[in-house]
């Protein structure tokens, strides 16, 4: 296929896509001349080019469509019918182009059906104006209003030239066209000043050395190539008002960019190696140039990454058309709102999400939105809305697909999930709505026809999810009955660079993408050991069984399967979709940003690897594909806990080193709030008619007692009918029900409280699962329920002063109200050093409560320093807070005479431990 044709195919494909989208816009806004002019010009361009290239079928079709559009321009109303015909003409054009691309020739066939239809519509005019004009003057677009540069021609002339050109073979007509158009394309100042007003065969003399010679061929080529150039010129002219400024773009082959990217990646790796060497050497003479190299490389990398970026709008381009067609097909009125089309992401990522996005929009239109009648009956606007939004968020792109339809039928999904044996009835009932909604991503779930008709959603949703997960993205659903469903997709900006955990299995190192890793657990022959059920290894993790695979075993290089259990190692807890499993490795090194290189074609069939990379030390390391491992786990490991992955339940009081388990709920105007799960006693759904009012305050009878209800936000009103979600907090015999709109989820995440809110009912805000969430301060609500709660029934006769040491502001804020409520005067310190100085200066302190695990000097160090200090400080009783009460911690605590060890977050345990200490006695003894 020659270059000319290939260029034509690329350009025409792009033009047709634009026309598609523009036409749909035009249909909604038939008076918009700008859109029409744009469409017209594009179709005209295609027609013109086809003529020169000798593609009669395409030309005839484009011509007929152009004629009809010319009629629109003259005032013929654009009916839905005519737009539909034009759209199907465009489809036909695309099909022919596709054939052309595959075979290099125009396929045989007849388009009379469409052409006659188009002609009929074009001639069926309300005002008897002109005969079905083929395409003469009236179709010419308005000339662009911009001063022409020397050598440029107006669009009018261009059009005239095109119309004058009858087709291939007629060199003396084609040639003049080439001259004027050629000029704007080659931006360089032209020596000859062609007077282009009237294309005369005289002009081209300067351009073409032998005008009479081989004629048709070069002339055609020239004009065909020139046309798109002139076209670009026109777009620029209409879009930018300033005549002087131009958007300068060039078309670059994708392969060239890919190659550039590869080279830059290599440069980055080389730089990393150099930096590593520089660290080991004292010689500083080359440190400065190296630093500059480092900066330049980083900038270069960024620049090259940018060239791979494309606005997400290019993946959305087809959607207005899809929605329009669906809207006609389904008889629903649908508005498609697109926000953030300019958001850029890597073209590789874009390719992968294109189809899932289309699919989801289809789904939303088809199943999400009710019929027009249904909407009106539900008191909603007749037109349904599908909203697509994209925005950057940190290193990821978030895409939301929201409809304002009926929402997912969660009850049906629950029922189906049980029927299909995906989860037990009891589990399903305990699951939050968000968890239940996720069942639609289950492979079996979506393909069953019965489900689709009941639950409304799901055909191919598993495929959507798989696609998104292969690029390290996650998908989430939020649905409200009667209000609609929102899918949130988060995907990395680029696939080329990922954070990975470097591990060792057997003799070799591997990289595990960080996105799939939840946590690391050390296993040994002792307390945390790998057990076996019928040979399949499992691990008890927080009262749950976690299926385990050993990486060496997976890769078929294990020496002795048997002694693996005895070995000490690490389990990388990974999650792929709903499946959670552990990968047993021998050693864990560090995390590193790695440049992902594709596997060789010879090795791509191995499902375990996602690619390879070169580490800073120059070694090649294979990247494990968590999806591949997950599939292997499902095949190889029986007796796993299956789908009972309702990570909701009760991973409660236990805490990882840095992660906090939080209960997320909706409270007030749809905002998300959270409270540490360990503070929560129970979650309840109560019938609203059980709520009683005493003295203007809501109460319910709860377990034989009265429990006051307090809204979690002033905006929440207790529902008058249906059920009401409550979060119950209790302290001794007292209980309080916090009224919330909806329990959303339980998340285990690293807590980074970001903004200290200026409200007493909030501790601050944090990002949980990508959502801004307020962390509520329970201490604010307790006194609202019981006036005397703050003063506390357990209040000590005399107020003792207590020093609370914890590095985390969150825990300090959490515990101090509790301790105050228990009747202590609380002084807080954020570190061992601060605590020691407070102890020195403040003689009132009678008890010390300290976190034992703190960065820098730990709680043990603090106690050790206290014990060797002055007698008053040395004799103080100490209560240690610890995440895990291990044997060694107990031993150390005893040697330091720590009075008691209490699990972090065990409030009642802490209060009890404090009560046991008789502060008066202690201080007297000291």
């Amino acid at each position: 296929m020659d270059d000319l044709l290939r260029e034509f195919l690329t350009e025409s494909g792009e033009h047709l896509d634009t026309v598609d989208a523009e036409l749909v816009r035009f249909e909604q806004d038939p008076n918009n001349q700008t859109i029409l002019r744009n469409i017209f010009r594009l179709v005209h361009t295609i027609k013109g080019t086809c003529g020169f290239l000798g593609l009669p079928r395409l030309e005839a079709l484009a011509h007929a469509a152009e004629t009809l559009m010319g009629r629109f321009r003259d005032g013929l109303p654009a009916t839905s019918e005519s737009v539909t015909v034009i759209l199907s003409t465009l489809d036909r054009l695309k099909a022919i182009l596709a054939d052309l691309e595959a075979t290099g020739t125009e396929p045989a066939g007849s388009d009379d059906d469409l052409i006659s239809e188009l002609d009929r519509l074009a001639s069926a005019e309300p005002e008897p104006q002109a005969a079905p004009a083929p395409a003469p003057e009236p179709v010419l677009p308005d000339p662009v209003s911009r001063e022409l540069k020397p050598g440029e021609v107006t669009l009018d002339e261009l059009e005239a030239a095109f119309l004058a050109a009858p087709g291939p073979g007629e060199a003396d007509f084609a040639a003049p066209v080439s001259a004027p158009v050629e000029a704007p394309k080659a931006e360089a100042p032209k020596v000859e000043a062609p007077k282009a007003e009237a294309p005369k065969p005289a002009a081209p003399k300067a351009v073409e050395p032998k005008p009479a010679a081989p004629k048709a061929e070069p002339a055609e080529a020239e004009s065909a190539r020139a046309e798109p150039a002139g076209d670009t010129e026109a777009v620029v002219a209409t879009e930018t008002t300033a005549a002087g400024s131009k958007i300068q773009t060039i078309r670059v082959n994708v392969d060239t960019l890919e190659h550039l990217m590869t080279m830059v990646s290599e440069l980055v790796l080389t730089r990393n190696q150099l930096l590593e060497i520089a660290r080991r050497h004292e010689d500083s003479s080359y440190k400065v140039p190296l630093q500059r190299l480092s900066h330049v490389t980083a900038e270069l990398q960024e620049g090259v990454m940018k060239t791979r970026m494309q606005p997400i709008g290019s993946a959305w381009q087809k959607l207005p058309r899809v929605v329009r067609d669906l809207s006609a097909e389904l008889g629903k009125q649908i508005d498609l709102v697109m926000v953030g089309a300019e958001t850029e992401l890597d073209r590789q990522v874009l390719e992968v999400i294109k189809d899932p996005l289309t699919h989801m929009v289809r789904n939303s239109a088809d199943h999400g939105l009710e019929s027009t009648a249904g909407r009106i009956a539900a008191g909603k606007p007749a037109r349904g809305t599908i909203r697509l939004a994209a925005y950057h968020e940190g290193g990821t792109i978030t895409i939301e697909i929201a409809d304002d339809g009926k929402g997912l039928d969660l009850a049906a999904i629950r029922k189906k999930a049980v029927e299909r044996g995906l989860a037990a009835q009891a589990d399903v009932e305990r699951m939050t709505d968000a968890q239940v909604a996720k069942f639609i991503f289950d492979a079996g779930f979506s393909t069953a026809a019965a489900v689709t008709s009941v639950s409304g959603r799901g055909v191919g949703m598993d495929v959507v999810k798989t696609n998104i997960e292969t690029i390290g993205g996650i998908i989430d659903i939020a649905t409200t009955a009667g209000r609609g469903t929102t899918f949130t997709i988060k995907i990395p900006l680029t696939l080329a660079i990922v954070a990975a955990l470097i591990v060792r299995a057997g003799e070799h190192r591997f990289a595990l993408p960080q996105v799939a890793v939840l946590e690391l657990v050390r296993v040994d022959a002792g307390a945390q050991r790998v057990e076996r059920i019928n040979g399949s290894p499992v691990l008890r993790l927080r009262e749950r069984l976690l299926p385990i695979v050993s990486l060496t075993g997976l890769l078929g290089q294990s020496g002795g399967q048997g002694d693996e259990t005895a070995q000490a190692g690490f389990v990388v807890v990974a999650q792929v979709g709903r499946e959670r499993f552990g990968i047993l490795v021998d050693e864990v090194f560090h995390t590193e940003e790695i440049v992902v290189k594709p596997m060789s074609a010879k090795l791509r069939h191995i499902p375990m690897f996602a690619g390879n990379t070169i580490l800073g030390d120059g070694a090649v390391v294979l990247i494990i594909d968590p999806n591949g491992v997950a599939r292997q786990v499902a095949q190889g490991v029986q007796g796993s806990s299956g789908h009972a992955d309702s990570d909701a339940e009760a991973e409660a009081s236990e805490m990882g080193d840095t992660k906090t388990t939080l209960l997320v709920f909706k409270g007030g105007q749809g905002s998300f709030k959270a409270v540490p799960l360990s503070l929560v006693t129970r979650l309840e759904e109560i019938e609203c008619d059980k709520v009683e009012w005493l003295g203007g305050r809501p109460l319910i009878q709860y377990r034989g007692r009265l429990m006051p209800l307090v809204p979690a936000d002033p905006a929440i009103t207790i529902r008058s009918e249906g059920t009401q979600a409550l979060v119950v907090f209790s302290d001794g015999e007292r209980a309080m029900g916090l009224v919330v709109d909806e329990i959303v989820d339980i998340v285990e995440e690293r807590l980074d409280i970001e903004i200290a809110a200026d409200r007493s009912d909030l501790i601050g805000s944090a990002v949980l699962r990508g959502r801004a969430t307020d962390i509520i301060n329970i201490a604010h609500f307790l006194p609202l329920a019981y006036d005397d709660w703050a003063r506390g029934p357990k209040r000590a006769e005399q107020v003792s002063t207590l020093l609370l040491v914890d590095d985390s502001a969150f825990f300090r804020d959490m515990l101090s109200p509790v301790l105050k409520a228990a009747g202590y005067q609380v002084i807080t310190a954020a570190s061992t050093d601060a605590a020691l100085s407070i102890l020195q200066s403040d003689p009132r302190i009678e008890v010390v409560v300290t976190d034992l695990e703190m960065p820098g000097r730990s709680g043990f160090d603090l106690v050790a320093a206290m014990r060797s200090g002055e007698p008053r400080v040395a004799g103080l009783p100490v209560i240690g807070l610890t995440g895990t009460v291990g044997a060694d911690a107990v031993e150390r605590a005893r040697s330091l005479a720590i009075t008691d060890l209490v699990a972090k977050f065990d409030r009642s345990g802490l209060i009890a431990a404090l009560a046991e200490i008789n502060p008066t006695a202690v201080s007297q003894a000291a």
Partner: protein, 163 residues
Amino acid sequence: MQAANANGAETGPTDDYVTVFVGDTLFGLAIERVHDVFVPSGVTPVPLAPSEIVGLLNLRGRVVTAVCLRRRLGMPDAETQDDKANPKMAIGLEQGGETFALVVDGVGEVLKLGTDSREAVPINLDPRWRNLATCVHRLDGRLLVILDVDALLGFSAAGAKAA
């Protein structure tokens, strides 16, 4: 010698070959296909890979798939396993935009050979070899088997299992 190519005394055109040896056999590879000659180091084995693939290695910042010529030809692994004492050599080849390293026992000189010494591949050769060789050249005292680079790298995952 190279420059004299155009007006050389030899009859007919000549081809340049890089010679490599595995065991006692001498092989030739068309010089235009050879990009590099280097000592492979730091090879990362790929579990579950076809047996011909020794692993991946870092060649100046590029990840290169190392293919063992010995295994490709169905020859047993070299008896001396102490790689350090006797380092192998590798030939950098390119196919389909990918770079491969062909691991051989050693690399010899570059030979310029005309058609006069060329022979067809003997039909009694192992079929595996016959598929990989294009022709044989008679040299002084020994034979040179010319290998087809594309066929050499043209093994698939399925074919590899048969080996």
